[in-house]
Symmetry: C2
Subunit: 535 residues, 2 copies
């Protein structure tokens, strides 16, 4: 058997950009062949990008992807290339890997286990493959599986190994959430050890709307030892030999990993949608501070504009904090008072509101003026507006629809408030850009006199714990009561979550970081009377 040389191409592909993706694949093949690799492996659906969603319903789209495969084929000389593409046979569509050698497609593996849970809709598009996925070229016996295939005890790799496969190549587009990498590594090592095989796992990298792919591709030898590992959230072509010595894996700090993910997700959303600059409303609070910091780290300080929009309710301290943040980040900082506009609304609506007291209406008007101003800057100057809401707020609807929720991308939408502080603290440990006072002061929306978040919400430590049980663990009211929170508090929180589904439905996409994010990961009806009679 002996030694084989392998290239795992952990690359950032773009959905729909069949031409660009194909060029990237061909370049990587050239590099791998120059290095005399025996195998050059790509992620799942490299040609189309992942997930192509309903583009897969277009006949022409699949045709274009098949033509691209033919183009790639012609560029393969002495290596064995394994590349993800969309296969079509007898009117059935498959999520597939093409095995190419000496300019010919010598084999195809169609994915067997199709995920259709969480963020996945693969059964909407793909038929289940029936082939074994075992190949032998030049005496090298290997198997090919795709993503979900490897996560199942009775996945197709078992038959491949029975057939004599010593190397298993895994093509992946494995959406990121924190802590997932450990689970992934555990499974790969387990299979390797159990069957005494080499496992080469190539993962996609980059952001696609709300999804994030972390790379961190992995090669383990037949003793379950890691011999190569890709970086998180960076493109990389990993070249190694199957007999390379085991390496030490550095433990990645969780906050660092998440932070890198946020940078990657934001950068890709901005660039892949052809934006260059972003504008952010800076309130002087922690959410906008972290969002702006991520933006600067992702796009460069010259591409981030911070706008402070004070009203009669803004404290001088908020101004100082926002200004200091902008200075620390080195970004353009503008002040646009909303007072004049706010007054014009109050005047205009005076007759119709008569003598009704100041309430949530006037609070929302302010937030929506700010939203309108940011969108005006977006329209006039071509900036993308970033929203700054966190997951705790999105959960309970503590945000103004069309107000602070107005914008193209919600960077920290999937971070609970407690996580926001944690990640911001970690970022400050690299260089202290977020003013210390922003960490210390009590959170407030400053939409009325002396307002504090805790007027409306329980302390974030408590709130976040309840939200996690309800949203991520799908626990019922009774089950959360049993965990030990106050019954009335749980009722209040759960009702807020359900009642605000309509807001989330109109919120901009944001980066999935937790095991269950809002968006395609959690599909809840708006009309939903379950809680009403249940608690």
């Amino acid at each position: 058997m002996g030694n084989i040389k392998v290239a795992l191409c952990q690359l950032n592909f773009t959905v729909g950009d069949i031409l660009g993706n194909t060029e990237k694949i061909i370049k990587a093949i050239e590099k791998g062949e120059k290095e005399e690799c025996n195998f050059i492996c790509f992620p799942e659906l490299s040609i189309t990008g992942y997930p192509p969603e309903d583009l897969l319903l277009r006949r022409k789209f699949i045709e274009d992807n098949l033509n691209a495969l033919q183009k790639i084929r012609k560029n393969v000389k002495n290596s064995i290339v394994i590349v993800g593409f969309v296969n079509k046979k007898n009117n059935k569509v498959y999520n597939s890997a093409g095995i190419i050698y000496k300019g010919e497609i010598i084999g195809i593996y169609n994915k067997k286990i199709l995920p259709n849970y969480g963020v996945f809709d693969e059964k909407r598009y793909f038929s289940k493959g029936r082939e074994i996925g075992f190949f032998e070229i030049n005496g090298i016996k290997f198997g090919v599986v795709i993503c979900e295939d490897i996560w199942h005890k009775h996945g197709p790799y078992k038959k491949q190994i029975k057939n004599g496969a010593i190397y298993i190549f895994v093509l992946n587009a494995s959406p990121y959430h924190y802590k997932k990498i450990k689970e992934r590594e555990r499974i790969i090592k387990e299979i390797s050890l159990k069957y005494n095989i080499f496992l080469f796992y190539t993962n996609l990298v980059g952001g696609q709307d709300e999804l994030l792919f972390d790379g961190q591709s992995l090669a383990v030898n037949n003793k379950g030892q890691v011999i190569k590992k890709g970086k998180p959230f960076e493109e990389e072509i990993l070249i190694f030999s199957s007999e390379d010595k085991p390496i030490e894996i550095e433990e990645v700090n969780e906050s660092e990993e998440i932070y890198k993910g946020l940078i990657c997700g934001l950068r890709d959303y901005v660039y892949k949608n052809n934006f260059k600059k972003v504008v952010i409303g800076l309130s002087g609070g922690i959410d906008s501070a972290l969002t702006a910091t991520i933006a600067v780290d992702a796009l460069g300080k010259e591409n981030v504009i911070g706008i402070f929009m004070p009203s009669r309710f803004s404290s001088p301290q908020s101004y100082l904090d926002a200004k200091k943040l902008a200075k620390n980040l080195g970004i353009e900082f503008k002040i646009i008072s909303i007072e004049k506009i706010f007054n014009s609304y109050l005047e205009t609506l005076k007759d119709i509101f008569q003598d009704r007291p100041f309430d949530i209406t006037e609070e929302n008007i302010q937030a929506r003026i700010r939203g309108n101003i940011l969108m005006a800057l977006s329209n006039k100057f071509g900036y993308l507006v970033l929203t700054t809401g966190n997951k705790s707020e999105m959960s309970v609807g503590y945000a103004t629809l069309y107000g602070d929720m107005a914008g193209g991308f919600a960077v920290i939408k999937d971070l609970y408030k407690t996580m926001v502080y944690k990640i911001a603290k970690w970022r400050n440990s690299i260089s202290p850009v977020i003013p210390e006072n922003i960490f210390i002061k009590e959170p407030t929306a400053e939409l009325k006199e002396n307002q504090k978040d805790t007027d409306t919400l329980p302390p974030y430590e408590v709130l976040d714990s309840i939200l996690k049980e309800y949203i991520e663990n799908d626990k019922s009211y009774e089950e959360i009561v049993n965990i030990g929170f106050d019954e009335n508090l749980i009722k209040k929180v759960l009702k807020m979550v359900d009642r605000n589904e309509y807001k989330r439905r109109q919120s901009p996409p944001g980066i999935k970081i937790t095991p269950k994010a809002f968006g395609k990961d959690r599909r809840m009806p708006i009309i939903n009377k379950y809680l009403k009679w249940n608690i």
Copy 2:
């Protein structure tokens, strides 16, 4: 065999309202038993409402539904009740029908063919049933299938018939789109004729977020003749005997059917979300005129408030048309000028905009002021804001995000502009509430001097034809060229459609009327470079 008496309970259930749905079911059983029916049949997933979406991931939710089934069971005396519920067995979840007789669940059928296309996600939740679904009680041989099961040539009914079933009961939650009813009737008659069996089809009725269920339940005898048919969009318990004489089916006017559907969808969205009154921005144009008319027909004139919000660009004629419409409808009509507020924005933004010319920015500011005003009325008075955009606009993004797109429900979101005129014309044929001038004048957004829709868009007849090919038929650019439209025009339109996916993602839900609506029916990536290199 002889005669059997049947009740098909075409009822309006609410997602999550297990208690309310159960009560409704028990009442219908009482009625059916009082009438001495042999069979009392309900729609698919009657106990939970359809579709329950991710509520199905909660253990407790399924438990509650199983307990409800037990409660229903106890209320069944001498009839055979067939009711849709969520079954759970060996940790697998099924979309099922319970067959109940004399207080006992004497059989269960688990749905075999699970739709996972279009608006459907059933493979996300349910396992595939394996049972035949054939039953014999008191010498009556019958089969039970659920919705999608009946649409497939090799559906489970074939085995049931082989086993001797003479009656097939079909439980449905069949989402409405126009022209679907004909297809449905054709298939039911065909199966009946081919196998010489009775087919009793019970369909859900009502609105659930973007979905609409039209009722129109159907009973055909063993000669493929219709012996009973339910009304469109109304609750009804259809009671009949299997030997009843065939009836003449009245052809329902398509515009009338759609109009009734819009009323039903809006009414359910408003009431099931606990609203009472709605507010609509009346521009004097056809879209807001039709929306207001539907709202009055759905909710009563006392529950609809029309707001005219003029600016310097509003023509006197728009005011006259809006006012006349409101008068014809008998609704409250208020005028709120946006001029003062608009000026305050221009003043506030003057420095930052410097001398840049008036462009889309200033247009959008106006639309967003109107959105903010309507939302303020919503907040202050508890109204639901209805948006008035049509499918043509939603497709090409000819609408302002957070402006005219701001609101809770988009009633005519799935009507192309040409359909809007057609439906409005039909409604006026009943009573001429929409002023004739609104039909005659050229569409305009009135956001700048002398603006017309055709400044930006092709004539709606052309636009709508291209959109239909691209959106509903998933045709490629080349295929649309072959149909015969101008190449540059197609390019322009297709690019607009793709580029505005981000707006649609943040738009309120609206009622699905066409075979492919925006929303869960069409899942397109925002980051999508396909067109970029393809045309």
